[in-house]
């Protein structure tokens, strides 16, 4: 949104439609372009856990099912190189590198703000170690790990092991290169490397640059082999995550960050623990909370079912800190307030139920629309008219007005549409 003027019944809104470099009327969503695209980009939708191509769909079920080019990453658009592969393979001739942003002028009677929310970044909580302990993930990252279309195809591989696999691939590449160089030298001189290394270490090697280089290469190879060996051992003992800890109220109900309750995290932790258990019956989950807020129809029953059937343990106590042991397992420190005991317990994976916070553009949008925000930074509404902002004709629904779960957001969306229709309908009838 670029600009807004007018008043209820007659708003003029200027909206910028960003260029996607693909003609959406022609694109059939077949995916041939992404298959052939040579550029890999970190996939934001998969919470940075996987990769996607520079031409992509934000997520597989996205509507409309049309591809978009990530201009900054694209070789042709962003980096000024010659590529054009996607345009070549597209049978529908939908790729359009010359597409520009378009400014659309809208004449509308009412506006509904449904800009959603942002997930709290837990790296600002030093005691939880999110930015330094690999096996501490956010609920959203865990959601992607659990997803069949996610980076691990739904298997609970731990991020530390995913990193290990990546590291091993690179080490193996390097190993091959070094091995080739060393064996060439061995053939050239007709001597085994061990002899040269021994001579080098005892200082009896003749002063020759080629031999010196050979000795150094052989030493590098040996140390790389040792590293690969230890990585292989680590990989052999690695297993999928079975013992999970869910930590509630990360960044919410916390005066340091957000005083409010994010309302949906209790249920999504129970849900994620249930799905993890469905995927692998060996999964045991512990949910650390001050109180598990199962408010909603059937929620309490769902929570109890989780405890009975899905190996979920509910622990009353907010987690004090997370450390890491030598096997890269997160160690959770907490006071079990029921037993009055300080406990530390090792888990395979820790999942942080991060808070729902206002989206970063909310303040700017509120300024443009001249509507008020509440003290938490969400759009302010009237307690007796929960979809009305402080300006007539501008409505707000879903997490833009505060944390809420999907059913509630959907219900609010319907209501907001109805409130907007109340304004628009008379005018429409007058014209018709």
């Amino acid at each position: 949104m670029e600009q807004v003027s007018g008043e209820v019944g007659a708003f003029q809104v200027a909206v910028r439609k960003k260029a996607r470099y693909v003609n959406e009327n022609l694109c059939t969503g077949c995916g041939a372009c992404a298959e052939k695209c040579p550029t890999m980009v970190v996939d934001v939708f998969n919470a940075g856990l996987g990769n996607r191509k520079a031409i992509y769909k934000y997520f597989p079920q996205g509507i409309p099912s049309v591809f978009t080019i990530d201009a900054a990453a694209c070789r042709q658009l962003g980096q000024g190189k010659k590529c054009g592969v996607c345009a070549k393979v597209c049978q529908a001739k939908a790729v359009d590198y010359d597409q520009k942003d378009t400014l659309i002028q809208l004449e509308v009677g009412a506006v509904v703000i449904a800009t959603g929310y942002e997930v709290f970044d837990p790296s600002v909580i030093p005691e939880y170690g999110y930015d330094r302990i690999p096996n501490v993930v956010t609920a959203l990252e865990f959601e992607r790990l659990l997803s069949a279309s996610g980076p691990t195809a739904g298997h609970l591989d731990r991020p530390s092991e995913l990193a290990l696999v990546k590291e091993m691939e690179e080490a193996e590449k390097e190993h091959k290169k070094l091995q080739r160089q060393v064996s060439q030298l061995e053939e050239k001189h007709g001597k085994p490397s061990s002899e040269i290394v021994a001579a080098f270490q005892s200082g009896t090697l003749p002063d020759d640059a080629d031999l010196r280089n050979w000795a150094l290469l052989a030493q590098d190879l040996a140390s790389l082999e040792a590293r690969l060996d230890s990585m292989n051992r680590r990989k052999a003992t690695a297993s999928v995550a079975r013992k999970l800890a869910f930590i509630q109220c990360v960044g919410s109900r916390d005066f340091r960050f957000n005083p409010f309750c994010s309302s949906y995290c209790c249920m999504h932790s129970v849900k994620e623990a249930m799905i993890a258990h469905e995927h692998d019956n060996g999964v045991h989950s512990s949910i650390f909370c001050m109180d598990l807020r199962a408010v909603g129809r059937g929620f309490e029953e769902y929570k109890l079912r989780g405890g009975k059937q899905a190996n979920i343990r509910y622990i009353r106590g907010r987690v004090a800190e997370i450390t890491q042991d030598e096997a890269l397992n997160p160690v959770v420190w907490y006071e079990s307030t029921q037993n009055r005991q300080v406990v530390h317990e090792t888990f395979d994976l820790v999942i942080l139920a991060t808070a729902c916070v206002p989206s970063p553009g909310a303040a700017e949008l509120a300024r443009q629309f001249q509507v008020e925000l509440d003290r938490n930074g969400f759009f302010k509404t009237d307690p007796l008219a929960p979809l009305n902002t402080s300006r007539p004709g501008v409505f707000v629904c879903g997490c833009a007005q505060g944390p809420m779960d999907i059913p509630e957001s959907v219900a609010q969306a319907s209501s907001a549409a109805a409130r907007a229709a109340e304004i628009v309908a008379p005018a429409r009838q007058a014209v018709g």
Binding site: P126, E127, C249, F255, V319, W333, E335, V342
Partner: protein, 373 residues
């Protein structure tokens, strides 16, 4: 302040009973009978009388690990201090470490005793009677006498501060009349004694005409910065920590560090780190030592572990356990030297190390700076 007033002042009724404080508390981990959460609960449940008589009241390290994380901002260390004040009024008190020798020295200083504080300073370098910069020495000359036998030479730290300042062309004021900053008295619940000491210090500094007071001891710095103004009103001189001062001197090229060599790990003192929020300048200085490498312990900065005892009170088996744990954590980093920045941390950790078979050195940061200058 009565318990009811302390509850209001520190808004402990916001307590969520979540257990983050107790889960974070180094004392609770070694002494299950101690729980910040339950102490707050007790106060709220009008069991204050029980709290005042509780020996564990004096076990709190006031290290602020709990306050750092409390989701409702309850300043537990301050709450403790107020309850201790009340307990002292009613005649209860801590088990004093070192037979109360240090407390006696502090209380004696309110009686106008004559101290020969400048003699050692004159031997270590050039000092002045008047000028812009006042070096607040603190209790180091006393620690020197008491802790010499465990191998800690506290006064050498003060000597080296003068050496570094001299190297930058600064001749600081060192005064015979300066007294203890009152830190331990404040946390021992003896606010009246603290006030006498504080008033004396402010008077001494004012009459010297100094514009800036440099502290090497984190406790003095924290107290002057945060408690003196609270009790005595705004100060008309600037309060600077030596490490911030050194960082500036280094940046301006007025001093240079010599070769230190080796791997260091830095232990954040609670007064300097969590309370005065100085995390970066000590690390910045360490990183500038040529040939030195700095590695972090797992629990660093805001998460750092306390050195095990505070205010020369309730030093216990638990204190030793905390110290041993910290030393092992330092060793696990691969560092050969644990760098301390507080004379008390140095004393406590050195004491624990003397009973351990651990190949680790403990060095004070000021010493490292001065040895290279």
């Amino acid at each position: 302040m009565s318990i009811e007033e302390a509850i209001k002042a520190y808004q402990t009724y916001y307590c969520l009973d979540c257990g983050v404080c107790t889960g974070s508390c180094p004392v609770s981990r070694v002494n299950p009978g101690f729980s910040p959460r339950l102490m707050v609960e007790k106060a709220l449940l009008e069991l204050g009388e029980e709290l005042l008589q509780d020996r564990e009241l004096w076990s709190c390290l006031t290290c602020s690990r709990c306050f750092e994380r409390c989701p409702t901002h309850i300043n537990f260390p301050e709450f403790m201090r107020r309850i201790r004040e009340e307990a002292t009024r009613r005649g209860f008190g801590p088990v004093l470490a070192h037979h109360g020798m240090l407390q006696s020295v502090m209380e004696l200083q309110t009686q106008g005793i004559h101290q020969k504080k400048t003699q050692w300073a004159r031997e270590s370098g050039r000092i002045a009677e008047s000028g812009d910069i006042f070096f607040f020495v603190g209790c180091m000359p006393y620690f020197q006498v008491i802790f010499r036998d465990i191998g800690v030479d506290s006064l050498s730290i003060s000597r080296r501060v003068i050496k570094v300042l001299n190297a930058a062309g600064i001749e600081p004021i060192v005064s015979d009349d300066e007294v203890c900053c009152g830190h331990d008295m404040l946390w021992n619940g003896k606010t009246e004694v603290f006030l006498q000491l504080a008033r004396r210090n402010v008077e001494v500094i004012r009459s010297s005409g100094a514009k800036q007071v440099v502290f090497n001891c984190p406790e003095g710095y924290h107290l002057f910065r945060n408690f003196y103004p609270e009790y005595l009103g705004p100060l008309d001189f600037e309060v600077v920590h030596f490490y911030d001062f050194v960082e500036r001197l280094l940046a301006e090229g007025r001093i240079a560090l010599g070769n230190g060599g080796g791997v260091y790990t830095y232990h954040d003192p609670c007064r300097l780190g969590r309370m005065a929020r100085i995390f970066d300048s000590p690390r910045g200085i360490l990183a500038q030592i040529p040939g030195g490498e700095v590695v972090e312990m797992e629990r660093n900065r805001e998460n750092a572990l306390c050195c095990g005892t505070s205010g020369w009170a309730n030093c216990s088996v638990g204190s030793k356990q905390i110290q041993v744990e910290r030393l092992k954590e330092a060793k696990a980093t691969g560092a050969h030297t644990l760098v301390t920045a507080c004379p008390k941390c140095q004393i406590h950790l050195t004491c624990a190390l003397s009973n351990m078979n651990l190949d680790l050195k403990i060095a004070d940061l000021t010493t490292l700076i001065a040895d290279g200058v």
